[in-house]
Amino acid sequence: MSRIVRTAADIIYPFIVIFGLYVVAHGHLTPGGGFQGGAVIATGGALVIVAYSYEEVRDWLSGKVLMGQEVIGLVGFIGVALLAFAFGQVFFFNYLNASGSLFGTPVPYGINAGDLNTGGFVPLMNFAVGCEVWGGLTLVILYMLSAFSTEKEVS
């Protein structure tokens, strides 16, 4: 792609990533959450792949790192849920809710201004799912593009 497109993609990509992380982090207060934020970040990756050719991006993004990111996200999700057993509760019990520690402020009832520190383990699961979706969708895009290459003739 031309220089203008590449420069514009360079400038916008960090903002897209930050916006995606914002959507992931505020999932328990505003619309959004793990899947939506992860999809936004993966779209940023797709923008970079479109602006530069697939061959150059293949050297920057490695499949192993993305797969590792996916596994960390998945294990984080199920690990947080399994940790409820360590507290003597049932599976998926929200042990951080109104507990005073990480994300533990009690939620005020009714319409309020929204405190980021609330929600229990829901923001943690949002981060895990966002990490996983980012890795997974970027892997899917890379795999789909690997069959389409501008170096050789495509029949």
Binding site: L29, G110, I111, N112, A113, Y143, M144
Partner: protein, 114 residues
Amino acid sequence: MLWNLPFITVVVLTFIGLVTVLMKRNLIKILLGINILESAVNLFLVSLGYRAGGVAPIFTLAPSDLMVLPTPQALTLTSIVIGVATSALVLSFAMVLHKKYGTVDINEIRRLQG
């Protein structure tokens, strides 16, 4: 009549999606038909939760106390995620089939018979 408009749209979209899946020969177009069907079902689920005069079911800085139901929105989100996974899987099948059979026309992809 105006309140039924989302449901009429659901029926029209379902019909379009079904006709596409049944009549088209290109595998990518069949996948698009499946996506249209998924959109129809998602629209159906979301419009079930509507309450007249309600706002979005978010407590953060909400303008009023009357809200639409949030459960169908969670169901729709799950369905959208399943739709994404479905599309990704069928597209990767289409890629492998194109490499092995040379075509994505489903009338040609018919080596398993009987």
